[in-house]
Amino acid sequence: MTEVVSFRNVGVRYESGPEILRDLNFTLHRGSFHFLTGASGAGKSTLMRLLYLALRQTRGEINIFGRDNIRIPRDELPAIRRKIGVVFQDFRLINHLTTFENVALPLRVAGVEDLQIRKNVTELLEWVGLGDQINAVPSRLSGGQQQRVAIARAVIGRPALLLADEPTGNVDDRIAMRLLYLFEELNKLGTTVLIATHNRQLVRRFGHNQWLLEAGTLHDITHSA
């Protein structure tokens, strides 16, 4: 099975509002790397929400890890969610937990043992350049540092699918590159990566597949850019 996610005629609207996304048809294969671009308000985060199962399509079919998303029983969802790492656009760090605890959260939830957690988290925090902020709470971190904590939390569990929503909006180009190398590293180990971003430069430099959300539908512009 190489199809991680596939969409068929998917449409989404929030409550009684207009259809934000419509007629989405695409497939994410195992080990693929895509950039998702589009104007502000185009629906990138909405598409991400569909993928991390926080939102249901109003029409169409979504298949994720081989299962029809609306047919998955409630108690099987957590297991699927643990295979998905998400960098939220608004970080969603827990304010009263330290950097370490915030990053450790997915491992704690998965019941990984303490020693393992300690080793993995410290190592990863060193890599993203937060080795000296391990015990700081989010309010003591700079914007870019918070964003890196959010990224570390998303990748700590070596997810099968990584969704990053504007992961480099608050860091400089050097760190952005470093973070993308991290994503590529994961990708080489088999993780399917989808990154929503406004940073055209970055997209151009890494030259992976590029999708454009426009007027609610998805266009593959990998070769046209």
Binding site: Y52, L53, A54, L55, R56, R74, D75, L77, P78, A79, I80, R81, R82, K83, I84, V86, R92, I94, H96, L97, F100, E101, L105, P106, R108, V109, A110, G111, E113, D114, I117, R118, I134, N135, R153
Partner: protein, 300 residues
């Protein structure tokens, strides 16, 4: 680097909202304890009074307007009235026993008044009917019916007075009991409120945990345990405030002549007091669990 000793528990402690639940719980538990101690003390007093007013109520049937009759005739007329009263009142609700006082008891009763003399049997002495009332007894109705049967008969209201006051005291006791029930309910409600409002602050954390793949039961369990601890802690503080204060009040009260409460030292009472923190903690835990589960169920 400080690592937590329990890796599977989320460190929710350092959160700023955690001060509220314990304080409101402490307050309510203190109030509840005050009321329970008060009830116990009052119950003791009422118990003492009841012991003292146990027994009966009496009707005196005086030989009014019979002083000029012959002793024989007088006694017969009096006996007729007495029999009449006993017969007619016997079926009244709330009367468990009705019976004439024997002449010997009468003499004994009158002795301190008139001396231990023969004179008694020759005097126009009133007859006395003793009634043992029970619950459902209605003093006013007895008085009314007695007025119809024998207007000259006098109801001794000495004991009935005590009875009435004990009744009112019992009502107060009931009211206090009701207050305790209300306070208990209020404590539970405020635990529920405080727990829920605490959780509303944590909504984003609940959501995040959900999205990173935590089981509903895991999330609910974490918060339940957290709130259990907070509520237990609050209840303990409430007890620690209320018990010494109750003690001081009781001491002052006993100095002012209140009866010494014995119920307060009974195992039941001590059991109830000890149970409070556990019940409160249990309610907080259950509320947290349910609230979190409800929040989670609304999410995908």
């Amino acid at each position: 680097m400080a690592f937590r000793s329990q890796p599977s528990h989320l460190p929710l402690d350092s959160d700023s909202s955690t001060r509220f639940l314990p304080s409101i719980v402490a307050l309510m538990v203190a109030l509840l304890t005050f009321s329970i101690v008060g009830l116990a003390a009052l119950h003791d007093s009422v118990g003492k009074w009841s012991g003292q007013i146990e027994g009966s109520l009496s009707i005196q049937v005086p030989p009014t307007g019979m002083a000029d009759r012959e002793p024989e005739e007088r006694e017969q007329a009096l006996q007729a009235t007495v029999d009449d009263i006993i017969e007619q009142l016997a079926d009244m609700p709330g009367i468990s026993r009705i019976e004439e006082l024997s002449p010997e008891t009468m003499s004994a009763l009158l002795e301190p008044w008139l001396g231990p003399d023969e004179i008694v049997s020759e005097l126009p002495i009133p007859r006395i009917i003793e009634i043992t009332p029970e619950t459902g007894f209605n003093f006013d109705m007895l008085e009314r019916r007695l007025g119809e049967i024998a207007p000259e008969a006098v109801l001794d209201d000495h004991r009935i007075w005590i009875e009435r006051i004990a009744d009112v005291a019992f009502s107060v006791e009931l009211a206090l009991m009701a207050l305790i029930v209300v306070l208990f309910g209020a404590t539970m409600l405020s635990v529920v409120f405080a727990t829920r409002s605490g959780l509303s602050i944590h909504r984003t954390i609940i959501e995040l945990l959900h999205l990173i793949g935590a089981q509903d039961s895991y999330i609910a369990g974490q918060f339940a345990r957290h709130n259990l601890r907070l509520a237990f802690f609050g209840a303990l503080i409430g007890l620690l405030i209320a018990l010494p204060v109750s003690g001081v009040i009781a001491w002052l009260g006993m100095r002012a002549g209140w009866p010494i409460p014995t119920l307060v030292f009974s195992p039941l009472f001590i059991g109830i007091i000890i149970a409070i923190p556990f019940v409160v903690a249990g309610v907080a835990q259950m509320t947290a669990k349910r609230t979190v589960l409800r929040v989670l169920r609304r999410m995908l």
